[in-house]
Amino acid sequence: MAEKKRNGIDSYSVPEEISIYDMWSYNTTMEELGDKPWWELPERFSSLEEVWEYTKSKEYKEKNLSREAIKIDPEMACQPLGALLAALGIEGTLPYCHGSQGCASYFRFEFTRHFREPVMEAASSMTEDAAVFGGLSNIVEGLQNAYTLYKPKHIAVFTSCMAEVIGDDLKAFINRAKQKGSIPEDFPITYANTPSFVGSHVEGYDSMVRAILEQLAEPKEEKTEKINVIPGFDPYTANIKEVKKLLNTMGVDYTFVPDWSRTFDYPLGKFEMYPGGTPLEEVKNAVNNKGSVIIGKFSLKKTAKLIKNKWKQPLQAMEMPIGVEFTDKFIMTVSEMTGKEIPPEIEEMRGIALDAMTDAYQRFHGVKAAVVGDPDIVYGVSKFLLEMGAKPYYVVSTNGTKKWQKEMQALLDSSEFGKGCKAYAGMDLWQLRSLMYEEKPDILIGPCDLKYYAREFDLPLVRIGLPIMDRFNLHRYPIMGYEGVINLVTFIGNALLDHFDRICPEVNFDKLR
């Protein structure tokens, strides 16, 4: 009674006499084409199956977990990518990567695939001569070309490996470019050092945010009544919109910086070179605001230091407002810092989120999840799971630090539902695979790279984080705030149901769930 498989998505609107040809006919086996795979040659392994089983073994797992020199499917990118995101969150800003030929293209790829939006970034395009003579001439001409052609209001410069290895002095080089008349003396250029062999995109983001805030700051005597809200590295546009909605509902006066909510989500019809970002005037004035809230405490350590130690501003560096409790905390923090009361509209939103949670929690209860991604995001998503009675069984952050691992583990241990759950800093996905063969989770949550493992283990995958290159629009749905709670309930809850409907026996294929 089985149906012949069809590649549904690829059905054609072509005349029938054409469409009868099987367009996926390359499924022809290589053997039919006369290939003989080498592993079938006599002196090689006789059985693929045997090796495959070995890779699932405990012995293999131990070797896998003790690897030191190679990472296999680590889930993290490098510093300049984060710097690029920060730069794209500022009005009229042209990001500028000072480093080798090619790096900039990689960063543009990543975001353009994730957001399906244009990503603009200039580069020094250094080649072998720069390795010998340094990148000064590249930056001098590069800034002039970029400034002249693309008419930015601000250029944010960051580095990739080469500039760091050869020791280019950014500050001096930029001054030199100004002296040489490449760009006007008073044109704002900010810069940050973001070598790829230190930290990850999260640290690069932090460095660039700090650089922008610090280098553009125009301190005045008087403080404003505004607060700064500074997000951690966050590959969503809707999260920013959601947090701003909460702030607006509270009637708070704020500077949200950086803000890429329109950069990666603006209307079709006209290409805009600089579609979004926090107004430069606000950025310059951030130093004069009466306090700052950082949402993403693992992402913004250097920025926090600037605000606290140098600006001496009251600062709350908190978790990303993912899940109900961290959102509550955000609301109360803002309320306390601004003196604004929490209005009934906020309670209404919160109550609806709770309604969605209680409607669905029985499907989450006891479900074991593997959660993978950036330290702040997995921290928030795991908190949400605990609030639903699910178990963030493997919390994996390749770019998580030891400190993160400790705090993450403490969060897991603080809930009865966290029993048996563990945080893994620095782990890669191939190591997670070994853990999963020991104890299989029920669902995977994280970037699209996990799809290979979802397929291998026949598990549902809920895509959260960066990158998501194989699904549409997900950055347009917030995972933060009360709206984010509803979305997480929907996406994770319905993924569990989809999966269960698929694997359950026919007798259990219920119309009610």
Binding site: I70, A131, P195, S196
Partner: protein, 489 residues
């Protein structure tokens, strides 16, 4: 091809001039050499394969990208190690749709991201020891691997690590094939050098060092043996071509990077013909084979029905009558199908203006397919990383007045598109959303925009369908709000 004008050359020249006027002096002079109004006789040449101007927003990638991303990362059975900091391997992780059979993690490592994960201490103290250890760990994890490819990122070359001697040492220790590629991104001016390095290393470290009988004792050369190279098997392109070769009686004894079976490569030196698809990335290898072993090579084009048939006839000319007959039979069999596809799609595409900007062969290969088979008009084309020979092959294939732009900058391409308002743009993903924002239909022509195969005869249907889908795609007519229509025409 007969002479035909696709743009008024005076208008085109003025457009280039106006566009260049926005540049500072130095860049203007340099960029002027990269832009030309096509004269099919090749009178108006562009320069190419030189450094990008800094600050201009180029689409180019680097030598590592050309070496690892385009060629080496696809080798089945060889573990591709991104040697250096984590980023490069991350960005090039499974982002090319180069298909390969096998089981992930068992005997296929194409969709992985392996990195030696350089940290500051590795930059300071050198990373050779780490690489040594990484190879041990990898072969422990993947015992079925034939070997590993070591692909250097910038810091490796800058700090003076010697991956070649590590490779040699570990080959002896492990019995695996280990091929070192010094493909640091700062070398060269684009992806192009990466291709060259890969070609040379494959020749020197694999083809020259091993004999087919080492791996396949029963193997004997045959009269119809060919090598097929330079087909990236995007969406299964290469498999379409392999099926055709089989149908016409040729035996493909080695191939890359179509599902590349590295253990077959030593057979390449015994083949009768090297068939090259992307000459830009793999003719180095073909030329080596010609020079050393006297194996002729042929530059084919399997994009579009006309060129596919033509390529097959050309290939047949290297062989005896049997193959020639097979080719004619093949063409006879498939001509009705091709005519059906044309009858369906050509009327929907005839005369539509196209601008292309792709990598190393498609700006001309695709242009031909679109024009000859589908009646579209290419009014501009350019390469990210071509050399002079590519452009020489291009001029005669395009109409008079078409814009030729080498390593075009984002600024230039925007101005050209705004002025020319093409019906379709074929370029890369970084360009896609820029032009879609303008409301212009677009196809990614590096990756076939998540579609393919486009090669061969069945691929031609897919190509035609996709071009129609793009140009006549349903949502485009809604781009402008109806209440704005009168105001903004």
């Amino acid at each position: 091809m007969e002479k035909r004008q696709v743009l008024d050359p005076t208008f085109a020249a003025k457009l280039i001039e106006d566009t260049l006027s926005a540049y500072p002096e130095k860049a203007r002079k340099e960029r002027a050499k990269h832009l030309a109004v096509n004269d099919p006789s090749g009178k108006n040449k562009v320069i190419s394969n030189v450094k990008c101007r800094p600050g201009v927003i180029s689409s180019r990638g680097c030598t590592y990208a050309g070496c690892k991303g385009v060629l080496v990362g696809q080798i089945k059975g060889m573990i591709p190690i991104s040697h250096g900091p984590v980023g490069c391997g991350h960005y090039s992780w499974s982002t090319r749709r180069n298909y390969a059979t096998g089981k992930r993690g068992l005997n296929n490592f194409v969709t992985f991201h392996f990195t030696t994960f350089y940290q500051e201490r590795d930059v300071v103290y050198g990373g050779d020891k780490k690489l040594d250890k990484a190879l041990d760990e990898l072969f422990e994890m993947f015992p079925l691997a034939q070997g590993a490819s070591v692909l250097s990122e910038c810091p490796v070359g800058l700090i003076g690590d010697d991956i070649g001697s590590v490779a040699r040492k570990k080959e002896k220790e492990t019995g695996k094939w280990i091929v070192p590629y010094n493909c640091e991104g700062f070398r060269g001016v684009s992806q192009s050098l990466g291709h060259h390095i890969a070609n040379d290393m494959w020749r020197d470290w694999i083809v020259e060092r091993y004999e087919p009988k080492d791996l396949d004792p029963d193997w004997e050369p045959g009269p119809y043996d060919v090598v097929y190279i330079g087909d990236y098997n995007i969406g299964g392109d290469g498999w379409e071509v392999l099926k055709i070769f089989k149908a016409i009686g040729l035996r493909v004894v080695a191939r890359f990077p179509t599902d590349p079976n590295v253990w077959d490569w030593p057979k390449a030196k015994y083949a009768k013909l090297t068939i090259v698809h992307c000459a830009r990335s793999t003719q180095y290898f073909a030329k080596s084979m010609e020079k050393k072993y006297g194996i002729p090579y042929y530059e084919s084009n399997f994009i579009g029905a006309t060129d596919t048939f033509e390529s097959l006839r050309d290939i047949a000319n290297f062989f005896d009558d049997k193959i020639k007959e097979n080719v004619e039979k093949f063409i006879e069999k498939w001509t009705p199908f091709v005519e059906k596809v044309k009858a369906e799609y050509r009327p929907r595409l005839e005369g539509k203006k196209v601008m292309l900007y792709v990598g190393g062969l498609r700006p001309r290969h695709v242009a031909e397919a679109l024009e000859k088979d589908l009646g579209m008009v290419v009014i501009g084309t350019g390469y990210e990383f071509a050399h002079d020979d590519d452009y020489e092959k291009t001029y005669p294939k395009l109409g008079e007045g078409a814009l030729i732009y080498d390593d075009v900058t984002q600024y230039e391409l925007d101005r050209f598109v705004e002025a020319l308002k093409p019906d379709l743009i074929g370029s890369g993903v970084k360009e896609k959303y820029v032009f879609q924002k303008m409301g212009i239909p677009f196809r990614q022509m590096h990756s076939w925009d998540y579609s393919g195969p486009y090669h061969g005869i069945l691929g031609f249907l897919r190509l035609a369908r996709d071009m129609d889908m793009a140009v006549n795609g349903a949502p485009w007519k809604y781009v402008k709000a109806p209440w704005k229509k009168e105001m903004e025409v």
